[in-house]
Every structure is written in structure tokens, then in C-alpha cells.
């Protein structure tokens, strides 16, 4: 197990370097000059433009800029925004907000998704099962922006339960509505995955054995059925956590949540290479950590899967 973790951590290095390299160049080969765009419709002042580029290191060759960037990254320096703020500060402000939003969404999809999937799977073919299939199909087919606007209109404008946008991004209660919107798509997938898995496993030999042993129903379902059925769900949930972190751009925009999505949107608009790369680096780390946890969880869920 220890060797497995070590190997996985080592594997992360090339993945990390590869993704950061890719994103670094991808952002920088986008057409348009971010510095000149600071002057808007007006012509940039050539002396100022040159001075600015020099200060930002943008007058160096792309390779040199890349080496500088990667070198600084190793020392934990993510560079500066064009407004002169440290990128790490920008990330530090946005990340906790999105983390909270994503974890809330994650908790909703995990608890509700597994519960709905379990009940639907155990009552296969009954009306609850059919209802679940219909309901999840609906969720999957509605694009997130549409769902966001519907929720905004129903719960804020019509019912007046909440404010249309989040007034305080640090307030968990206010984040609940965007979290539901953000988690709803995955909720549908989790419910369906769980249901299918349950339906398959409920007829398995070990289930019959467990029932024959006279184990209480709660234990049969909880330890035997659910545990074995969770493997595909955990795989999905692991990658989904990363997707939730990065994919909140739309949801955060609709509800004006001051998180990663908002900051990233702003940075992409300004073509701020350093900020975009910085956020992607962090997101890559989140993905890597999540997939590592998933792999470790396999061992916990099913000891037959051996490592080493």
C-alpha cells in the first residue's frame, strides 16, 4: 500500500508538469495583446506599452518566460496579475469559496444521489424507480444555465425565499441554492449509477449468502450490497469533485458567487496568462488528489483489488 501511494505520487509529477506546460502555452498563443487591450479603443502609448511589457517580463522569448514561470512555480511563486496583485492572493480568496460551494454540492449529490439510487434499485420497476428514471433524465437534459435561471426565478423572484444572487459568498446558507444547481447534474448521474449497480448486485451470490446467514436487513444492504455497489459511484464522484471546482464558472456567474469560476472568467477575459495558469495548476492538483483518493478507496471498498 505504501509503495502504491509513493508510485502514484511520483506519477503525479509528469502529469503536473505536462498540464501546466500545456496551459501556459495555450493561454499565451491566444490572439490579441492583453497589454495593448488595457487602452481599450484608444491607441496604446508605445513607451508605456514597452515599459509595461518589460515589467511583466512579456518582452522575453516564450521559452524564457516559460522557464521563469516554472522556476518560480517550484518556489511557490505564482506570479502577478496585471493589476499588480499576487496571483496566489487571488487564488487564496477565490478557492475557499468554491471549495465550500463544491463540497456542499458534493455532499448533496452524494447523500441524495446514493439514497435515491438505493431506493430505486431496491424497488426496481415500481413507481419510485420509474419516477427516479424520469426525474434524473430531466435533470441530465436541462443545461445548467437554464436550471440556474429557473431556480433563480422560482425561489428568489416568485417565492422570495432567497435573494437572487449570493450576497455573501462566505455564507453557507446562501450558497445552498447555487450548490443544488451545481450538484444537480451529477446528482442524476450518481442516482442512476447507484441504481444500476444495486440492481446488478442484489442478485449476487454473496447477497444470497448474507440473507441465508440470517443477517439483519440493514446489515445486508448497508455492508454488503451498498459497499460493493459503490465502486463505480466512487470513481465517478472522484473525478466529479474536480469538475465541480472548475465547472462552477456558469453557476458562479448566475449567482454572483466570488469563487474560482468568477475569478477565472475575469482572468480569461483579460487574458491574464499568469492568473489563468495559476488557477489551472491548483485545479490540476485537486484532480490529482481526488483520483488518488479514489484509488485508495477501492482498496477499502473491495479488498480483492490488490495493490503493490
Amino acid at each position: 500500500m505504501g509503495r502504491f501511494v509513493a508510485r502514484r505520487l511520483l506519477q503525479m509529477i509528469p502529469v503536473f508538469v505536462g498540464t501546466t506546460t500545456l496551459i501556459f502555452f495555450m493561454v499565451r498563443v491566444l490572439p490579441g495583446d492583453p497589454v495593448a487591450a488595457m487602452w481599450g479603443d484608444k491607441a496604446p502609448d508605445p513607451a508605456q506599452l514597452a515599459a509595461f511589457k518589460h515589467r511583466m517580463g512579456l518582452d522575453k522569448s516564450m521559452i524564457q518566460q516559460y522557464l521563469d514561470y516554472m522556476g518560480n512555480l517550484l518556489t511557490g511563486d505564482f506570479g502577478q496579475t496585471m493589476a499588480g496583485r499576487k496571483v496566489i492572493d487571488v487564488i487564496g480568496e477565490a478557492l475557499p469559496v468554491t471549495m465550500r460551494l463544491a463540497l456542499l454540492a458534493f455532499a448533496i449529490e452524494l447523500v441524495l444521489g446514493v439514497a435515491i439510487g438505493l431506493f430505486a434499485g431496491l424497488r426496481r420497476g415500481k413507481s419510485f424507480d420509474k419516477g427516479t428514471l424520469l426525474f434524473t433524465l430531466l435533470l441530465i437534459s436541462i443545461p445548467v444555465p437554464v436550471l440556474g435561471f429557473i431556480f433563480q426565478n422560482v425561489f428568489a423572484t416568485n417565492l422570495g425565499w432567497v435573494t437572487p444572487t449570493v450576497q455573501n459568498s462566505e455564507n453557507l446558507g446562501q450558497l445552498l441554492l447555487p450548490a443544488v444547481v451545481l450538484g444537480s447534474l451529477s446528482l442524476a448521474y450518481v442516482a442512476r449509477l447507484t441504481r444500476t449497480s444495486i440492481v446488478e448486485n442484489v442478485k449476487a451470490d454473496y447477497m444470497r449468502t448474507a440473507v441465508a446467514k440470517g443477517l439483519p436487513r440493514r446489515k445486508v444492504i448497508g455492508t454488503h450490497l451498498l459497499r460493493n455497489s459503490m465502486i463505480p459511484v466512487v470513481t465517478f464522484l472522484g473525478t466529479d469533485l474536480g469538475a465541480l471546482m472548475g465547472g462552477a464558472i456558469v453557476t458562479e456567474g448566475i449567482f454572483n458567487v466570488k469563487g474560482v469560476g468568477n475569478a477565472l472568467y475575469h482572468a480569461i477575459n483579460l487574458k491574464e496568462g499568469a492568473t489563468v495558469s495559476g488557477f489551472v495548476v491548483v485545479l490540476v492538483l485537486v484532480y490529482l488528489a481526488a483520483s488518488l483518493i479514489v484509488d485508495l478507496l477501492y482498496a477499502v471498498l473491495d479488498p480483492r483489488i490488490r495493490y503493490a
Binding site: 495583446d33 492583453p34 488595457m38 513607451a47 499588480g84 496583485r85 433563480q152 428568489a156 459568498s169 454572483n256
Partner: protein
């Protein structure tokens, strides 16, 4: 003209409203049932965005930082929000006899928010610093009229001096400005935020100061929560003519204007910047008498790539006029743009001094038959096809398509939009003069004077001359206008320069921008100036 009468109506309405509040105080506004008792210490929120630069007066070109700076600083002069006329603020008087040498006398009693007095040196030091290449200020070329600018801001390399020779402090309340040549409307430029004074404390650490600015304006800085909000509070020692009628402003960040609109409708946001396109059709019915719809000092044009051989020669002016005549401005502004623009009849926006209705003449009136005739007479368009370069991230696609449609139907010239992914990309192409036939261009006033719409956009070699237009006649009128002894005379002479544009048609004026906005039930007396900014100091917060 429809445009002129509308603008006048707005000006008159604002004037009446200002007069009413000035004489009546708390008891004013009997005609408006929604008015209630006012909380003079109440704060209100305003839709904003994260500033792109530190909050330094010469470093704010975009609205996110610009509006905050405007509330924190006050220069020598500003523009009366109701009429757009120049008004003295820190300046007691600004005198000149030759439009080149100015003597400035300051009022006494002005202080910065840290309590230090505003002196002649506060201005001279600030301007010298702002002009210096090393300071890295976006607006530094605003000081380029001043003698000695070249020394602190050479075309290339490091500055050779720290100060401009054209600025001299006489004593605490007097200083002189010498320009490189006569600029009759220099005082108009002085209303721009770049010319704000700075306190001594600024120069010890400008970067740190930019996160925590100390100004001399109606509001003092309270806090800046990055990407969330900037809060300012009324400054009780403010010596200006426009004392705040409220306790402060929260500039609240929104990345999507739809979200801001939703907040406004539910009274979670007090003043909107602009209604988003999706809600334009319904905002008047949503907001009732809290909806705002008035002219702004900004114009949308499409310009010709005059540097391409295809567009040169005398006859081609006819083709350009014909194309302009082929555009049905009335219908497009009403339908495609939901009435959020006002058809243009000149190259200067109404509200700016020197605006003259109808300078574009018949060329801005829709006449498909005449349009076709002119295009044919002028020898037609190369390959009978034109393209309009625009940025697809700014909501321009719909109207560009409509304009092309109009041109196609009227003249038979094939016309298509040529979208570029974003503003930066299209600007790159335009700046490098690689546009083939036409491009979207626009101009937002820096100060409400026609010279700003003409000289800075159509003068030979002017920084914003995207069309690459060059006319000896235009330049002659402009030069004469700059030497005039009064601003009135300048405005008049620039009208003659504008007449030259009607002959050459280097750019087709399409429509003027409008401020389409609104405010919540928590506030009243919300007026907008011709820059499209709310008159922050006039906003009254209702008692809860």
C-alpha cells in the same frame, strides 16, 4: 431633429430636478409619489467590476476603477452633470490670454482625506509623476500637451528628467502651465481624472497607496475587498460644489450583468450600470418610473479602411455616402437594439458642446434608391463585397448583421460581418491596419466637447484614427480651432472640420449610446450624466 429634442428634454428634466432639490431640500419632490424621507447617512450600492489597475488617478481608464477614482478625487474643474458645462472645483480661476500659457489659482480650504491641504504642489507633483514613463500610468499621454512632456516620457528609453518644464509652482495657491502649442480647450481636458491632485503621502509608496487611496473628493476610501466590493464613505470636510447627499457608496462587483439586474429588481442592488441586453425589452415595465433612458456621450460608427487602395480616390466618397444612406438606422435601433440606441445624424454625440444636429446631412437618412445610385456613380465596391470586422464578445453580431442586411437590400452590395473572437483580437487587426474594407469603431467621450469626437478620432495620425483618414482641410480647421481664444469659438471651428467629414465620409455614424439603467426602491433622485455615470453625490437614500 428627433435626437436633439430628446436630448434637450432630458437636460431640461435634470435641470428642473436639480433646482427642485436645491431649493426645497427634504420637502422637495411633491410631484413624485415614490419620494420619502431621506437618510443623509444612508449608503447605497452600485453595480461595478474589479478595477484592472491599482487605484491611482492617472491609471484608471476602464469603468471599474474609473468610477471609484471619480468619487475619491476632484480636480481643478469638473463638468456640471446636468448641462455638461465646465465648472470650477479646486480651481478659483484658470486664466490665459493665448491658449498656451495658463495661470491657475486655487481655492483655499480644500483638504485631502488625511487632513493635509491641497496645494499647487499637489497638482504639479501628481502630474509630473503621472506623466513619467517609469510610473507606468495608463493615462500618461493626457499630459502630452504640457511643455517638457518629452523629457519625462520619451518615445523610447528612459526619461531624462523628473519634472516637466511647463509646470511651475508659484506659491501654495498658484501655479502656471505652459503648453507646447495652443490648445484652446485645455481646461476641458483638465476635468479628466488623470489631472487629479495627490497628497505627499502618495509618493512614498504609490503601489501601496493604490490599494488604499487618499483623495480629496466627495468620498473617502473605506475598503477594497478584491473581486467583491469597494466601499467609500462621504467625506464631511469636502469643499466642493457637489456635497454628497448620502453617506457612501458600495461598488459591488458583478461578473454578469444579468445577475446585477436580478438583484436590482429585488432591491438587493440600488443603482444599475447598464441593463443587460436580455432584459432590455422588459426593463421599463419591470422598473416603471425607476427606469432610466437617456442620451450618452458615446457613438457607434463603422469606419472604412481608408489605407486600402480600394477606398481611395475622389469618387469613392460617393460610394461611402451611398453605403451610409443604405442603412436603416431607425428600424435597426428600434428592433434589433430594443431602443437602446439613438440614430446618429452627426459624428459628435448630443450633449457634447459643439454638437450640431444633422451635420451628416442626407447621408445619414435612409434612402435605398439614392444609396444605390451613389454607389453606382462612385464606381461601386471592389468585387461588389464588403466585410465589417467586429469583436464577437461585445454583443455586436446582431446589429452588424442587420446593417449588412440593410446595405445588401438597398444597394445589392454583398456585405458580411467578419467576427473576431474577442475585443483584443479585433483591436490588434485594426491597429495593424490589416482591415480590408470596414470595421466597427466607437468613441466614448473623454470630455463633453466636439473636439474630442473629431480631433482625436479623425485628425491625421491621431491615436484613435482607426480609419487611417487624412485630410488637409480637416487638419487645417482643427489646427485653427485649437488656436482659438475661447472654447465657444473652438467648438464652432470644429463644426467646420466636421463638415469635411460629411464630404469624405471616412466613417459612417450609426447611433449614439444611451444610458439604459434603473434604480431600486431604496433610493431616489438618481440622475445620470452624459458619461453614463450616475451623479453619485445626488443620490438620496430613503429612510428604512
Amino acid at each position: 431633429m428627433r435626437g436633439a429634442s430628446q436630448a434637450k428634454w432630458v437636460v431640461a428634466a435634470v435641470a428642473v430636478a436639480l433646482a427642485a432639490t436645491a431649493c426645497g431640500g427634504g420637502a422637495s419632490g411633491g410631484g413624485d409619489a415614490a419620494n420619502g424621507p431621506v437618510d443623509a447617512a444612508g449608503t447605497f450600492s452600485y453595480q461595478s467590476s474589479e478595477p484592472q489597475n491599482p487605484l491611482q488617478p492617472a491609471n484608471a481608464m476602464e469603468v471599474g476603477g474609473g468610477r471609484v477614482i471619480k468619487s475619491l478625487f476632484k480636480g481643478l474643474v469638473d463638468y456640471d452633470p446636468a448641462t455638461g458645462a465646465l465648472r470650477n472645483q479646486v480651481a478659483e480661476k484658470i486664466e490665459t490670454t493665448d491658449a498656451q500659457n495658463y495661470t491657475v489659482t486655487l481655492k483655499s480650504g480644500w483638504t485631502f482625506h488625511d487632513g493635509t491641504p491641497v496645494t499647487a504642489a499637489s497638482f504639479v507633483d501628481a502630474w509630473n509623476w503621472g506623466a513619467n514613463t517609469k510610473s507606468g500610468q495608463i493615462n500618461s499621454d493626457w499630459f502630452s500637451d504640457i511643455a517638457g512632456y518629452e523629457a519625462v516620457h520619451p518615445e523610447k528609453g528612459d526619461p531624462t528628467a523628473e519634472t516637466m518644464s511647463g509646470l511651475k509652482v508659484v506659491d501654495d495657491t498658484h501655479f502656471t502651465i505652459q503648453l507646447t502649442g495652443p490648445v484652446s480647450y485645455f481646461q476641458y481636458k483638465l476635468g479628466y481624472t488623470a489631472f487629479s491632485p495627490l497628497p505627499k503621502a502618495f509618493f512614498t509608496d504609490p503601489a501601496k497607496y493604490g490599494q488604499n487611496p487618499v483623495g480629496n473628493g466627495p468620498y473617502k476610501f473605506v475598503s477594497w475587498e478584491h473581486n467583491k466590493a469597494i466601499t467609500v464613505a462621504a467625506y464631511d470636510q469636502y469643499a466642493g460644489a457637489d456635497k454628497p447627499k448620502n453617506g457612501g457608496i458600495v461598488f459591488k462587483n458583478y461578473s454578469q450583468s444579468e445577475a446585477a439586474y436580478k438583484d436590482l429588481v429585488s432591491d438587493n442592488l440600488d443603482v444599475l450600470d447598464q441593463v443587460d441586453p436580455a432584459d432590455l425589452a422588459s426593463y421599463k415595465s419591470d422598473l416603471g418610473n425607476r427606469a432610466v433612458d437617456q442620451a450618452q456621450g458615446a457613438i457607434q460608427n463603422i469606419s472604412f479602411a481608408m489605407y486600402q487602395a480600394d477606398w481611395q480616390g475622389v469618387d469613392k466618397a460617393k460610394v461611402r455616402q451611398g453605403l451610409s444612406m443604405a442603412i436603416d438606422r431607425e428600424t435597426i435601433t428600434k428592433t434589433v437594439l430594443n431602443g437602446s440606441r439613438q440614430p446618429a445624424d452627426s459624428w459628435v454625440a448630443p450633449g457634447a458642446m459643439g454638437y450640431k444636429a444633422g451635420t451628416c446631412g442626407d447621408a445619414c437618412k435612409y434612402d435605398p434608391a439614392k444609396a444605390k445610385q451613389l454607389v453606382t456613380e462612385g464606381g461601386g465596391v471592389p468585387n461588389n463585397k464588403i466585410t465589417i470586422v467586429y469583436n464577437s464578445d461585445g454583443g455586436h453580431k446582431e446589429w452588424v448583421d442587420a446593417v449588412c442586411n440593410s446595405i445588401r437590400q438597398a444597394t445589392g452590395v454583398e456585405c458580411v460581418g467578419d467576427p473576431k473572437p474577442d475585443f483584443k483580437t479585433s483591436r490588434d487587426l485594426i491597429k495593424k491596419k490589416q482591415v480590408q474594407s470596414m470595421m466597427r469603431t466607437g468613441w466614448v467621450q473623454d470630455y463633453p466637447l466636439n473636439a474630442n469626437f473629431l480631433r482625436d478620432v479623425y485628425g491625421t495620425g491621431a491615436a484613435a484614427n482607426d480609419a487611417g483618414y487624412s485630410s488637409a482641410e480637416f487638419d487645417r480647421f482643427a489646427a485653427e480651432a485649437d488656436k482659438a481664444t475661447s472654447v465657444e469659438k473652438t467648438a464652432e471651428l470644429y463644426q467646420q472640420a466636421e463638415a469635411q467629414l460629411a464630404k469624405d465620409m471616412p466613417a459612417i455614424p450609426l447611433w449614439y449610446y444611451k444610458t439604459t439603467s434603473g434604480y431600486s426602491n431604496n433610493v431616489q433622485n438618481v440622475k445620470f450624466d452624459s458619461f453614463g455615470d450616475p451623479v453619485f453625490t445626488q443620490v438620496e437614500v430613503k429612510q428604512k
